[in-house]
């Protein structure tokens, strides 16, 4: 037994999950610090999950004022405008998240995510970003990588009834027991920028079509200077043009990002709460794994589509050039 022991209160509260991941994992969780930015439904689900799991602290970043749309999959804030005041989405969410587990410190960090420097991200063990531009994703990911210690980086976004998670654990070593023997496993993760820069034709065959569709729409939003999810069915012709361009550049068949799928992703801007629960649950599990060092972490994309019900892991980073 190293480090402090769990208190009696912690042991009682976390009893059922200590039976899943053990005392050491629980201890590591309780010392971890998590940052989330972009508090839509999926991230709210994630916040609930890791607060219940008993992380040390959770910092919320989202200065947006509350709107009906932002509350559509939010179970933290009563739909009562009189209590909103001047408070931001993060501030209002913080108030009720605190109640979920008095042992977790929940706080708000105001400011634009892209304006924070390396030393800011350095304070965290895991950073989860959502609802932000492609550029912000890339730059936050790079800052996490420049930190002196490993800061796990995640992006999560849901469109229509689909969700995508990206994971960057950099160089990640963990041990697992196989046939009663402890073995060391080493994983190398590419950054988000590196992963999406991999030429499409060199990606594994039968890759989830969601990957390509999400990249096309992400590019579209970037070109148009739109916030993620600020799309509609009317954008379809322009997006299909962009798809054509990208697919040609990558020598990939356009069928890999089908019209119908792109149309769904563009037009379904209302959050679908069951998908938020599923994707926020998977993300919660992944962050818990990475912090506790227990279990095989996801590498490095996860896709869920409620239409076919599949929750798929794709490893995008291994290219044909890798030796």
């Amino acid at each position: 037994m190293n480090g402090e022991e769990l208190t009696e209160q912690e042991t009682a509260l976390y009893d059922r999950q200590i039976r899943v991941w053990g005392v050491d994992a629980q201890r590591r969780l309780s010392k971890s610090h998590i940052l989330v930015s972009g508090l839509k439904g999926t991230v709210i689900e994630f916040c609930k999950n890791i607060i219940l799991a008993g992380v040390g602290s959770l910092t919320l970043n989202d200065d947006r004022p509350v709107t009906d749309e932002l509350l559509s999959a939010n179970f933290l804030i009563p739909p009562d405008e009189t209590v909103f005041g001047e408070k931001s989405l993060a501030e209002l969410s913080c108030e009720s998240l605190k109640d979920f587990n008095p042992m977790v410190r929940v706080s708000v960090q105001k400011g634009d995510l892209s304006s924070f420097g390396v030393d800011f991200f350095d304070k965290f063990d895991a950073v989860v970003v959502s609802c932000c531009s492609l550029n912000t994703k890339k730059s936050v990911n790079e800052k996490c990588r420049k930190s002196s210690k490993r800061v796990a980086f995640y992006t999560v976004d849901c469109r229509d009834s689909c969700g995508e998670i990206f994971v960057d654990l950099q160089d990640y070593t963990y041990s697992k027991t196989k046939m009663d023997k402890m073995t060391e496993c080493k994983l190398q993760y590419p950054s988000f920028e590196e992963a999406i820069a991999i030429p499409w034709r060199s990606l594994p065959r039968r890759l989830s079509k969601l990957y390509f569709a999400m990249r096309v729409i992400e590019r579209f939003e970037e070109y148009q200077g739109r916030m993620p999810g600020q799309t509609s069915a009317a954008d379809l012709p322009n997006v299909l043009n962009l798809r054509k361009e990208l697919c040609e550049a990558h020598s990939l068949s356009e069928h890999q990002a089908p019209d119908a799928l792109i149309e769904r992703l563009l037009s379904g801007t209302r959050e679908f709460p069951p998908v938020c629960a599923v994707v926020g649950g998977i993300l919660g599990q992944e962050v818990i794994k990475a912090i506790s060092g227990k279990g095989d972490p996801l590498k490095n994309f996860f896709f869920f589509d409620a239409m076919d019900g599949k929750g798929i892991i794709e490893d995008i980073g291994k290219t044909n050039d890798d030796a």
Binding site: R16, R19, K48, L52, G54, F75, P273, Q285, G311
Partner: protein, 642 residues
Amino acid sequence: MATEQQLSAIKGEKVLMVGAGGIGCELLKTLALSGFQDIHIIDMDTIEVSNLNRQFLFRQSHVGQSKAKVARDAVLKFRPNISITPYHANIKDPDFNVDFFKKFSVVLNGLDNLDARRHVNRLCLAAGVPLVESGTTGFLGQVTVHVKGKTECYECQPKPAPKTYPVCTITSTPSKFVHCIVWAKDLLFARLFGDKNQENDLNVRSSDASGSSEPAEDVFERKRDEDIEEYGRRVYDHVFGYNIEVALSNEDTWKKRNKPRPIYVRDVELAEVIQQNGNLDKVSVFSDPLSVSAMTTIGLKNPQDVWSLAENSRVFLEALKLFFLKREKEIGNLTFDKDDQLAVEFVTAAANIRASSFGIHLHSLFEAKGIAGNIVHAVATTNAIIAGLIVIETIKVLQDDVKNYRMTYCLEHPSRKMLLMPVEPFEPNKSCYVCSETPLTLEINTNNSKLRDFVEKIVKAKLGMNLPLIMHGSALLYEVGDDLEEDMVANYAANLDKVLAQLPSPITGGTIITVEDLQQELTCNINIKHREEFDEENEPDGMILSGWTQALAQKNDETSKENGASTSNVSQTVSLEDEEDDELQILPAFSGFAGNKRKLTDNANSSSSDLSCVGDENKDCDDSEAIVMLDGYGERKKCRVQ
């Protein structure tokens, strides 16, 4: 996904949720956010501290209150305009009858035990209401859809029976720690602190084996004015020393086994136990009987530590003493409760001392409590994921989108790149006794089995009936209900104690009897086959019910032939049990997954044995073997609903 269409499918529908626990809290939240506006929720439980790590609608201040009611209030805070009707009640209450179920468009289960799941399955079938069923254990979970006539019902595939152990393994030849726990909990604890009139094998065996005329009761009874220390040491020496010596004298038993070592108090270093007088003062501080603790008075702090034999012995003697000093009034009425600290300490210590004797690894109090209390692993994330999947299926059910129904497995390790694996549901099993009224066969010795044995072991335990009625032709043999005439009640009570062949309308080989549950509206016919002998070890019930398993194997064989598949590894789904930690018997938490692999060819005559290999070792959530059997899942599609 056409959201408008979904919203309109959801809006006017009345849904029934059974269970407001781990899955229930997540489900109620997700239903409310998704636009459901008329939700009824039933749960008989009240909130406990150990729920709070995942049942996020509850707070410390709610401990002791109704789960259903608190969950309702919590959800109305963020969706004030919907209707949630809570019932703090048991789903098996007669009020929740077929007419009650008929009011709903769909029923969603977030239950913690097989019994209630089967009950709800029957009511849904009788009422013709679709059921979405679910379960989680640790990182594993599953959601299934059951629509009468379209997909299999919850009971189309036999469920794993709760794990039981042969009596002699427990009383004489334990080889695993769980055997020691069962012994400590069900035999020793029950004998010392429980109802003295209960049958108890500890009692029987110890006197049997000794072969002396000494009445066994004397050993466990504290003599008048007997010093409590002396009494404790006497019990200790008897169960861990004398009884082992007696067992050793039966040399045949040990030819192929390691001999146990008798342990007497004098063999153990108990130095500090002797100075208990000082401890007594500390003890008196406790006001709540459930917080009296032997380990605390002895100075052991960490429940995660594995105690030495000496420490276990000290805890054993201290706990025994504390029961008599602090909780004497309860002695004679106690049953083991995982939340009773002193009981857990006593059982842990006793199991560990016995384990030492038999050369079995010792365990910490935390681990022992988990085994003794059948505490199941549970985390919030899995419940949240499963709840999301339930809502997705529910919307399909409300849209009658049959071809898209899926059962979904939530896995810990990806299989074919999938963490969430959807599988097309099976069609109904044509020979399921629950949804297809297929007769069953019961092998039983009709000359010595009483009707009571049949009611307890078959009708209740195996058929899961709640308010049974048993008929032979037009003769009523047994019935349960509030509205019975007194003479009928007396008549039935008399029948219970009669041997089958001597009933007013005798049940013998060749008889067909009808068993009915009026609440579940389930009827099944049972062909009786007389059989003289049963194997005490393998067939401890002295009766064997069979029928629908064999028929299933045949049916699936045909299916695979039709499809021209020679390698028909049709995996069978057995639901995960025990989302929660209630009063279950030793039930393998992983039975669902570990029991899944099931080759049809091996299965032709295994009505009850196909899951026999599933034991407590599968309880460990890190058991990666648990997923191996999923390989056969591709073949399931052959059983597509047509």
